[in-house]
Symmetry: C2
């Protein structure tokens, strides 16, 4: 009987962030967790996750309640709608299928029941979902976790799971309804007692604040091929690239969204990763694995918004164009674009 009162949660994307989210919800006991996997489906379905976590310790063979290959089709499987869908994939709108297309089998048209949680980075990630599902409550999840999946199904979490949850602004749903869902989700997620998940009403501020890291360290480290420690030591790294890029984000945050970041935000964000952790930002990790990079929401959107507001963003402009070329290179490597034979 207790089981029926659990919230049904579908976690879409069970990589380094999604696996820890699934684990927290499972351990918390207030949710029944289904995970929709792609690249690591076979390994996780057969052996479960192998997790080394600073929050949860060592876990061999962790399995969510149900594991799907891909997003389950509600109609085809005669499933009731989920209470929550948490999207934990990378946000790569320049590729097909988009995140919106990916989750559509599990999210009915005109849905009002399911709450969607976008546990993804960057700016304007909610827009396509708000357009397609205007009656769905959509929550923002900003994860400040340090976690990686060095091999399929093996999750190494070396920085605590800090998660900021708030509601995006909806055209037709009032703030109270949306924020109530956000607080409910925080309760579900926090129940494990092994994370620092907080309700944070100022989603726009939080997203711009995180862009100071993500729009800057991410592409700079990816393009130069060095980690966030070395970029602080390299000739030209901080004064030539990181600081100018971060200052452009700080200026854009104010001009675009009236978000005033703290005075010393640039130096604080530079020091986020301890120097000698030689941390590789996710975009560099993705490139090294031959994967696509999520540069449009991390870099393209703040750039476009900043430009519209009249903010000069020369550093981010060049980094963005370089990222486009690098994404094209990955497309060629994956045979998604064709050049004439050599």
């Amino acid at each position: 009987m207790t089981e029926t009162r659990k919230k049904s949660v579908l976690v879409v994307g069970g990589g380094s962030v999604g696996a820890i989210a699934a684990l927290n919800l499972h351990v918390g006991g207030l949710a029944s967790v289904t995970v929709a996997l792609r690249s690591n489906y076979h390994i996780v379905n057969e052996h479960g996750y192998s997790i080394e976590s600073c929050d949860h310790g060592l876990l061999k063979g962790f399995r969510p309640s149900i594991v799907y290959k891909g997003v389950p089709d509600l109609v085809a499987n005669s499933l009731p709608p989920y209470d929550y869908i948490i999207l934990c994939t990378k946000s790569i709108p320049d590729l097909s299928p988009t995140s919106l297309e990916l989750i559509s089998p599990a999210l009915p048209t005109n849905n009002t029941h399911t709450t969607l949680v976008l546990l993804q980075n960057g700016l304007n990630i909610e827009k396509p979902f708000l357009d397609a599902h205007p009656r769905t409550v959509i929550l923002s999840g900003i994860s400040l976790i340090g976690s990686a999946e060095p091999n399929y199904g093996r999750i190494v979490q070396n920085e605590p799971d800090r998660l900021l949850i708030g509601a995006f602004q909806h055209p037709t749903i009032d703030e109270e309804t949306a924020s109530t869902k956000a607080r409910e989700f925080v309760t579900l997620y926090s129940a494990s007692g092994r994370n620092d998940c907080k309700y944070s009403p100022n989603v726009v501020h939080d997203r711009w604040r995180k862009l100071v890291y993500n729009a800057c360290f991410n592409p700079i480290c990816a393009v130069t091929g060095i980690d966030s420690g070395r970029i602080r030591l390299a000739d030209g790294g901080l004064d030539g690239l990181v600081r100018p890029a971060m200052n452009e984000i700080v200026t854009a945050a104010k001009a675009v969204a009236n978000v005033v970041l703290e005075d010393d935000v640039v130096e604080k964000v530079i020091a986020t990763d301890p120097l000698e952790s030689w941390a590789k930002p996710s975009m560099l990790q993705d490139l090294e694995k031959g994967n696509f990079i999520e540069f449009e929401n991390l870099l393209g959107e703040p750039l476009r918004e900043g430009r519209k507001a009249g903010v000069p963003m020369p550093t981010l402009e060049v980094l963005y164009q370089l990222a486009r070329v690098i994404q094209w290179r990955t497309k060629e490597a994956k045979d998604l674009v064709t050049v004439s034979a050599q």
Copy 2:
């Protein structure tokens, strides 16, 4: 007796450009050619060069008259000064030893006899030599050859050897004296009949003209890791990077040196390499080999000169800072800088 009338020429650096220069001077018969080698010394000294050349055909075991390991010390070897020293190394002033230090054993202080030919790319390469050897005639050599050294001692030349020779402006040597030396060198070099070596009085124009390619395609292809054909096909390649960078050089050429490049120079330079030759600019080749890149004279100097003249150069600025970081990365790989242990 004929032998004594030959000019003595020391070619410093016998890579893809220097080897073909040595070959032309040797075949022309008006020069006695000594080559100073470093990385490929042992192979060339033992087996000679293996050359596949569109100008000279196939040559197995080509040996210049004399091969030295490093630059010969005139005093220690009781050698008379050379008539010409041709510097064909990469120009990497951010590394030690500099080109100036490299050739100093073969160039006496207060030299007036030896003419120095800088067969190197970029802006302001002559400045340290003019400062240290104000009484030496210094010639500019701009090579438009297509040539590579895929393995030590193996030279593949697939584009004709076109060479523009002129005299730099000297503070204390009159133009007539310097240009006479330039014309004499053209005679020596052209004598083989297998190249297109011309006297070109407008060194400053020629150098800025070549920067339209070198300051732009070189760093853009190096940073993105793709060739000069693919960068024309990639999202953002031409409109986001190549054209803006080239336009910055065109504007700087006018502002800095009153050099007016032809109206369609940008599109002409974009089409320099046939698309499907998938040509890798030298900086990309250097990176792929783990070598240092010659970004200071190709990119740093035009940027600094342009900035001084008030030209906005946002694209080249970011490319320059990225190149500095990449050079630092190579220094770390070669143990020339140390970061704390991981």
